[in-house]
């Protein structure tokens, strides 16, 4: 059993519960134990860095400092916004030692900046991809539009992850899972992220354009790696459909759910029932019978203070 650090952030505990469920289930299939960072706090996304510089640095720094204290070297951060904040703060503090020591005094913890921040794809690539194809029992044989959004790949100069204008990493994973990752035009266009609540009309327009291009190119599913992308494309579907004056009913799946399905985890364990847009993928004849479902059990071990 490999142990890897895990930072859920707020979304995994709320609106994107199925994201956490699917990541956990997938990890378990590959004998990986996700160890939640103890006493973690909000990463500060969207609000903190618009309001208070020191706060925006201190919040992610505290998470990383706690992980260091726990001896965690790699933290999986499935939420793209959390991943972005943690990575940027790590970079900024590494560039400026005096700022780093100032932040350390604010959070009152030792901060070295030694933990590796992994987004979901980097996590899969580091720990799972090598063994993925041998474990695929039910190829995910659907035309998939992989949607990366903005936070996963930008700013490239700091994250250095994938091709910034035409990312490929998720496409590669979907192909390994037996899927058909289609070429489409809106991989990194804005979904309206932060306006999900305040300006649903803007979200409907931006996300609507994304969904329209996907279905125009015959996508059967859109694959995402960010809870905000997911909520906009999934939860705001009625507004999107109203904007487009068209009924689009293809589901939005997390990459962890896609891989989970491919390795034979059942739909409920992956939380497919939690989506707003019903996941109603056409049944394709499986090449081999699916393996037994992974027992429903909390696979994330909540570390408690000794």
């Amino acid at each position: 059993m490999i142990k890897v650090g895990f930072y859920p952030g707020c979304s995994m505990k709320g609106g994107a519960q199925e994201y956490q469920e699917s990541v956990s289930a997938l990890a378990k299939v590959f004998d990986i134990e996700l160890v939640e960072v103890p006493d973690w706090n909000c990463c500060g996304a969207t609000a903190a860095h618009n309001m208070n510089k020191e706060l925006s640095l201190s919040l992610p720094a505290r998470i990383m400092a706690l992980a260091e204290k726990e001896g965690i070297t790699d933290i999986v951060v499935p939420c793209a916004a959390c991943y972005n904040r943690l990575s940027l703060v790590k970079h900024e503090l590494a560039e400026d030692p005096s700022l780093s020591s100032k932040v350390a005094s604010i959070i009152d913890l030792k901060y070295e900046g030694t933990t590796q921040i992994l987004n979901i794809i980097q996590f899969i690539d580091k720990y799972i991809t090598d063994r993925l194809e041998e474990k695929v029992v039910k190829p995910f044989d659907y035309k998939s539009a992989c949607y990366y959004g903005c936070l996963l790949v930008r700013p490239h100069s700091i994250l250095k992850f994938d091709r910034v204008e035409d990312p490929q990493s998720m496409d590669v994973l979907v192909k390994k899972a037996g899927g058909n990752a289609i070429d489409w035009a809106f991989k990194t266009e804005c979904c309206g992220a932060g306006m999900s609540v305040s300006r649903t009309d803007t979200v409907a327009r931006l996300s609507g354009n994304i969904m329209k291009d996907a279905v125009d190119r015959d996508a059967e599913v859109v694959v995402v790696a960010c809870p905000m992308c997911h909520s906009n494309l999934d939860m705001r579907r009625p507004e999107i459909n109203k904007f487009l004056d068209k009924k689009i009913d293809i589901p939005i799946l997390y990459i962890s759910q896609v891989l989970g399905l491919a390795v034979g985890i059942d739909a409920k364990t992956l939380g497919l029932n939690r989506h707003m847009t019903e996941v109603n993928l056409p049944v394709r004849p499986a090449k081999e019978p699916a393996i037994a479902a992974v027992p429903e059990k909390e696979v994330i071990t909540q570390k408690t203070e000794a």
């Binding site: 490239h156 100069s157 091709r163 204008e165 035409d166 070429d183 489409w184 035009a185 291009d213 125009d216």
Partner: protein, 666 residues
Amino acid sequence: MSRIGVFVCHCGENISATVNCEKVAKVTGELKGVEFSTDYKYMCSDPGQTLLKEAIKEHKLDGVVVAACSPRMHEPTFRKACAEAGLNPFLCEMSNIREHCSWVHPKDDLTTEKAQDLVRVMVEKVKKNKALNSIKVPVTKTALVIGGGIAGIQAALDIANCGHKVIMVERLPSIGGHMSQLSETFPTLDCSQCILTPRMVEVAQHPNITLHTYSEVESVDGFIGNFTVKIRKKSKSLDEHLCTGCGLCTTKCPQKKIPNEFERGLGMRPAIYVPFPQAVPNKPVIDREHCTYYIKGKCKVCEIVCPTKAIRFDQEDEVIDVAVGAIVMATGFDVLKTDYFPEYGYGKYADVIDGLAFERLASASGPTQGEIRRPSDGQIPKKIVFVACAGSRDPAKGIEYCSKICCMYTAKHAMLYKHKVHDGIPYVFYMDIRAGGKNYEEFVRRTIVDDETQYIRGRVSTIYEKNGKLIVKGADTLMGAQPVEIEADMVVLATAGVANHGAEELAQTVHISYDPYKFFAEAHPKLKPVETNTAGIFLAGACQAPKDIPESVAAASGAAVKVAALFSNDELTRDPLVAVVNRSAPPVYSQCVGCFLCQSVCPYQAIEREEIKNRNGEVIKTLARVNEGLCQGCGTCVALCRTKAIDIHGYSNQQVYTEIMALLND
């Protein structure tokens, strides 16, 4: 006891405004060994030089210190004056009290004191100076031109017309370079082929020029005036003497589906091919990578149809040695590869092409006979978007420089398109319009005004295909970054001009320096633009930086003049400020122990092995020896020598220590 003269220059007010020159002259005149000192308003002027010469004669000076500007400025002037007065020029040194003192300090006593220190240091150095004689090396009056594009052609013809022999090496089967691919040229719309092909033919027919096409330089040894070059003549699988260039083989070759490099992949060619109809030499080569015979072991159709039996399947590469006195690098440029533009769909969409491909579309000899037809379906595009700065001036793409030629050729493309498709609409996305050049700005104006090209200042964020159209999304920054979306039929990217592939390896082969972008580096950006840091090797054209045709031709002629000037001497003289390995009487012979650490660090391959033999011819000691023709006096070997056996004439360890001691013992 030395008899040194000190000459302090006011340089108008450049020095005297902050330094008390009279005082400097007076104080340094009292130094031990200084026989004479004076100050003058302009030492470099004719009366100033006369003053210097008279003083040398009158006071029988055996050393001179001129306290004035940087030695880069006037050292040659004063050394020449000394020589004219009968003093060995290498006994004259300059003390830089302008750049190193008066320009950088305020008017103050301390400034004057610093000037005195600088002069004192140099006086002490000159006491240790030795009379040196210039080095003489013979010259082989044959030039090697590497690259057969317009720059190489111009350089070769200019040198050959001066009466010197030229050897031209071209990597491809034909000379002509990128210019032969162009349709028309800005700003006059001259047909590129029409002005180029006569010169290509002239190269082939010139009695002084030997042409090696399909050949590459393998190694370069030697030094200015005396290079030895190995050239690999790749096998053309053809006896060139028998081949008449009838072209029957190329029409009968069954393999016809190889993307034609010359047409930027817009057309196909056979495996035995002549790159383009006007090729020089107009004789085919077999592309062994794609030839059915070399792949499968049978076919030989070309051999069967050849009326003169010129095909040679078993022909091998030939490596020849040539001796040359100068080398002109004219290897040109390349355009940025497709991987850089995933967001523009270059390589993914057939109708997103680069500027060179558009040149082929617009060329009368191109795949569409000059009609603008898009590659995907052959339709005439009604809307073309031209994207300038595709890669250039974009740190994210790793290219921070301006490719310089794109603004002009993009304007030309838009104009040519409008001339051929009257109802078409050309759009140009640009960052700035850089049209510096004779008649260039007027040309761009014509494109915008007369040919109604829509210039949009802003960058394109993404291009994607939808319903057979290319959707180009960008911003108009002159309209408050308002988003722009154009449904285009075709997109032309003005991709950045980059160093030619293999430039780095070639630079290392011929031992010249290059910049971070792998463009070859000139010796001085302003005053030595066609020289390299390696004596005897010159630059012409776009191998140095992106250049348009007039600039490439000008640089090539400049390089040719440098070669001709070099060849105007039977012997070369150069400054003797080179490293030397000390020698002494037997049985020691030298402090050198023959470890040859110096050989491994010398950037100029100037360290040779010298064997000392006894009367029986047995080697009793191996020493390092510096080749004076190659040594550039950098001093790396001196720093590394474990036994302090190497020193540099004019900058010996002793001289440098003396200077430091003079400062410390104030």
